[in-house]
């Protein structure tokens, strides 16, 4: 993980929140709407992030690095893709939840292409999302999407690993 510049990483939120508050108190409806949006997203984060990070913390201390390295490391078998697919199905929320989890897997010794695969899977295999999709757009739609996306996710994960160089975070 890259060290972040604290000033810079607070600048965007500070500007937008400051602008919203300014607009709100100068009587612009725009400010009100921005603040409502911010409040809604903040609520989502509060619902998700604390328990997710607690689970990540527990995962870190309880799962030995050796176990992960053995099954998901350099010489992983093809079943590793399947297990990560299953894990990704349990993700709620979206990428912003699977990203910290993926990073934890990487730190524990998971090979990068599996990490990228997990990220990809988490965008297409999530259980609640799949149910919503199948019930609103039809099972056929969902099956076609899965059939095309799954192999492409694996292929693109391998390509990205090749292009970025194995073993490096950046």
């Amino acid at each position: 993980m890259k060290k972040q510049n604290d000033l810079l990483s607070y600048l965007i939120p500070a500007l937008i929140i400051g602008f919203s508050l300014g607009a709100r108190f100068s009587g612009f409806e725009l400010g009100e709407r921005l603040l409502t949006n911010l409040g809604q997203y903040l609520k989502t984060l509060l619902l998700l992030l604390p328990p997710v990070f607690i689970l990540i913390g527990l995962f870190e201390v309880w799962v030995p690095r050796k176990t992960i390295e053995k099954h998901f490391g350099e010489s992983h078998g093809s079943s590793a893709w399947f297990w990560l697919m299953l894990l990704s199905a349990t993700i709620v929320g979206g990428l912003y939840v699977s990203l910290p989890l993926a990073y934890t897997l990487y730190q524990k010794g998971t090979r990068l292409r599996l990490v990228y695969g997990f990220l990809g899977f988490s965008t297409i295999c999530r259980i609640p999302m799949t149910f919503f999709e199948a019930s609103f757009l039809g099972l056929k739609f969902t099956l076609i999407r899965y059939a095309i996306a799954l192999p492409l996710i694996i292929i693109s994960a391998m390509i990205i690993e090749k292009m970025t160089g194995e073993g490096k975070g950046n």
Partner: protein
């Protein structure tokens, strides 16, 4: 999503009975990890607040309804990539659009890029995996979304 708190608390209690020291260590680690990435999450929701001001859900429906063919698909992919709408809002919207005659391939482009590409979560992704990886992964997500949309279009006989 509310069920996450009970799950985390139950696992935490089990862990606590198994090993107190490890559990405190896990909590400290959780806080350290959360607090170090928190600014990026605030950046994400700030970006999202502005984006959803520009593209409210009803406006997305209108845009996707007006354009079919390639322009419609490109708009669907573009909007799907930058906005963030949870599944329980996106799929009912997609069903309504279908009823209004929007083709399946445009719906596919929208819902798939919505999930696979995350413009607003890029700051988080870059912090964890670096700029190159984050950009490559999002571009590949966009390409996969396009391919899925095209395949859906062919299978549903829309091309």
């Amino acid at each position: 999503m509310r069920f996450l708190y009970p799950i985390a608390i139950i696992v935490l209690i089990i862990s606590f009975f198994a090993n107190k020291t490890k559990t405190w260590q896990a909590i400290r680690l959780a806080w350290k990890k959360l607090s170090s990435i928190l600014p990026r999450f605030l950046t994400m929701i700030s970006i999202l607040a502005v984006i959803s001001l520009i593209f409210p859900v009803d406006k997305i429906g209108v845009i996707l309804n007006q354009n079919s063919n390639w322009l419609g698909l490109m708009l669907a992919l573009g909007i799907g990539s930058i906005i963030f709408v949870p599944g329980f809002i996106a799929y009912p919207l997609a069903a309504v659009l279908l009823e209004n005659g929007v083709p399946y391939y445009i719906i596919a482009g929208f819902t798939t890029s919505l999930m696979l590409v995350g413009f607003a979560s890029l700051p988080i992704e870059i912090t964890y995996f670096g700029k190159k990886t984050a950009i490559l992964r999002n571009i590949s997500g966009l390409v996969i979304s396009l391919l899925i949309a095209i395949a859906i279009g062919f299978i549903y006989g829309e091309f």
